[in-house]
Symmetry: C2
Subunit: 267 residues, 2 copies
């Protein structure tokens, strides 16, 4: 039985979030190697990857503030630039995945989505489902899509994965979990200890530990990640937040369902 | 009244078709400049661009022959590589268009299309229509899409533009014409003279002049272009085949509906 896992590669993990347009090539290469090892080991893993934008898309998004959509003609250029930069990072990530021997295929969120007032009006998920059926790994990314009311809506990779999870569940495709690989060892408290579990009972107590992201960010860092995860938890999909940059090959272990240090968000 | 023009930038025009992965940067820059001039001059031009693949996608497509689809596991890698290379060329083209001051937005055909036995089963055209409504120029490209029967189907940029034209007409969006910018002065006979008009009455007589493409090609060059154009002609959309590399700024003139040397395909 196939286990569909959704994997988020965090923007802070794959780029230097404090320097515009700076990727972490070695980290990306290591992650690609771990993913290849895991799917080579367990042929039943069916994987969807979405990556954040770090100092690529977020940098452009902060330069051309479109948080309220497209309000004047000149912002259309920003809209185009944000997408172009987001897609440039995707090119780099997919190339590394291919070089590691993963059959990775880029899907472009803004070609699949039309939103309306910030809510997804249409999400053409068919190509993604078909790729999964063929054991090819779709690779999406945080992107900016057309919005029928405001003109533009930023889709974070967390939000994309949540919407993908729900679409897959609707089609009776089981989703085992979502792994968020970032640069912190899960969600940590003020003493740096990992909070092993977050759910709707303790979210009120732990939310004070969610720190803002350093550097370029427009989607809200850990608070946004946990919020998206809680939304999914009620559908029975658990999220695991781990450190993707540690030496312990945590990503590989998490993909293989081995125990790893990190934070689990579940109902 | 908006005039929607579909523009094909030929693979031979924007790449060196005899050298793998070699773009013609100066030509691309000139074309972007001409497009910018034309849309700056006439605000009623609404433009959809699709570019060929030349020695990008065709090179990969010849390397991993997928003309019969995906028949063995190892061809999945080829499928992914072809898309990756096609999308890399698109990155370059869109960047140049943006630098020329055009609000260009990349759309990825394989994210919008599922085919079935070589016929389009679904084409999620909404993002393209929305961009056009906002005066943003969608830029698509020859790509490889998932096919429910064979696994993979190559979509040439000509075919994409034909399907887009029909979808726009269905939605009552008038399409003025399709311009094919290539490296020959239209379709020429054996003496090098331009054949000014092709229609279903003379196609039988002129088809003998259609020469095969030099270099990397999997979609069939001029014969394919004319075939796609004739299919559209019956819906009232005329095609104009011109030389995009000449010094006379033919592309700009064609966009502005000024008379230019070239071949017109109409019913």
């Amino acid at each position: 039985m196939k286990r569909t896992i959704l994997l988020k590669l965090g923007g802070s993990l794959i780029t230097d979030k404090e320097k515009p347009l700076k990727v972490k090539k070695n980290i990306i290469r290591n992650l690609a190697g771990e993913i290849k090892e895991a799917i080579g080991r367990n042929k039943n893993i069916s994987l969807v990857i979405a990556h954040g934008q770090g100092s690529y898309g977020h940098y452009e998004a902060m330069k051309h503030d479109l948080s309220k959509g497209i309000q004047k003609e000149s912002q259309k250029t920003g809209f185009c630039q944000i997408h172009q930069t987001a897609s440039a990072l995707n090119q780099i990530i997919v190339r590394e995945l291919l070089e590691a021997g993963i059959n990775a295929f880029s899907l472009s969120p803004s070609s699949m989505i039309v939103s309306r007032g910030g809510e997804t009006r249409d999400f053409f998920i068919d190509p993604l489902v078909k790729l999964l059926d063929s054991n090819i790994t779709p690779v999406l990314y945080g992107d900016i899509a057309y919005d029928e009311i405001s003109g533009a809506k930023i889709y974070s990779s967390e939000r994309l994965l949540r919407e993908i999870a729900l679409k897959l569940l609707e089609r009776k495709i089981p989703v085992t979990k979502i792994i968020h690989a970032g640069i912190t060892p899960g969600v940590t408290d003020d003493k740096g200890n990992i909070i092993p579990r977050i759910n709707k009972n303790n979210i009120g107590r732990v939310a004070k530990y969610f720190r803002p992201v350093k550097g370029y960010d427009v989607t809200g860092g850990i608070a946004h990640k946990v919020d998206e995860s809680l939304k999914l938890a009620s559908f029975g999909v658990e999220s695991l937040i781990i450190n993707g940059s540690s030496r312990g090959k945590l990503l590989k272990k998490a993909l293989l369902n081995e125990p790893v240090a990190g934070t689990v968000v579940r109902a």
